[in-house]
Symmetry: C2
Subunit: 116 residues, 2 copies
């Protein structure tokens, strides 16, 4: 039973394993940045199905995996849904002010370019 | 004569062409982050030869080009030297607080990991 459960557990770096370069890499993509902005605005976990990205399902899965493997989000199964949550406490502890400045920059840029 | 000069001019994005995703990508590398930290600490232009990166000359050139093409640094020839300067005014105007929070995070991480 434990085995059946553990196969559904996804790999996450521990807080001490998260690296700035990896976080910046994970954020260096328009779609991943959009996911992070939506999670930050929602301030709660959101299912993958909540996000309506203009790419295939497998590309969407890839982007979420990059965010998870680099320590930006946590992904957990709740029944059949994969829930995503921003690792704000970890990121704020490691890199104070970084996430907020990226979110502000992303918001300002979206406004400037007319993308919302 | 103008032509002879212009072949030595390197391409830079205008301030309005700089994108957050591209800046994050440029910063998402340990060596490029190190170059940016050194330029920020020096607070002046530094020649490429100033940087002692543990990679080949061509890899070094590549990293500087990524920083320049994504709007993080300005590169100009002064005689035979290629001088590099951080585009702090452009970055601060576009993304207030971002560069400083990345620099602080990089400094804190270097201290944490014992890399200085």
């Amino acid at each position: 039973m434990t085995a059946a459960t553990s196969t559904r557990e996804l790999a996450h770096p521990e807080r001490t394993e998260i690296r700035l370069e990896d976080v910046l890499h994970a954020l260096a993509d328009p779609l991943r940045l959009r996911v992070v902005r939506e999670l930050a605005e929602a301030d709660r976990e959101l299912a993958c199905s909540h996000f309506d990205l203009p790419v295939t399902k497998s590309t969407t899965t890839h982007h979420f995996r990059v965010l998870r493997e680099n320590g930006v989000i946590r992904q957990d199964y709740r029944g059949t849904a994969k829930m995503n949550g921003l690792r704000r406490a970890d990121l704020d502890a490691l890199f104070p002010g970084l996430l907020d400045s990226v979110l502000e920059a992303a918001g300002a840029q979206a406004k400037r370019l007319g993308g919302g």
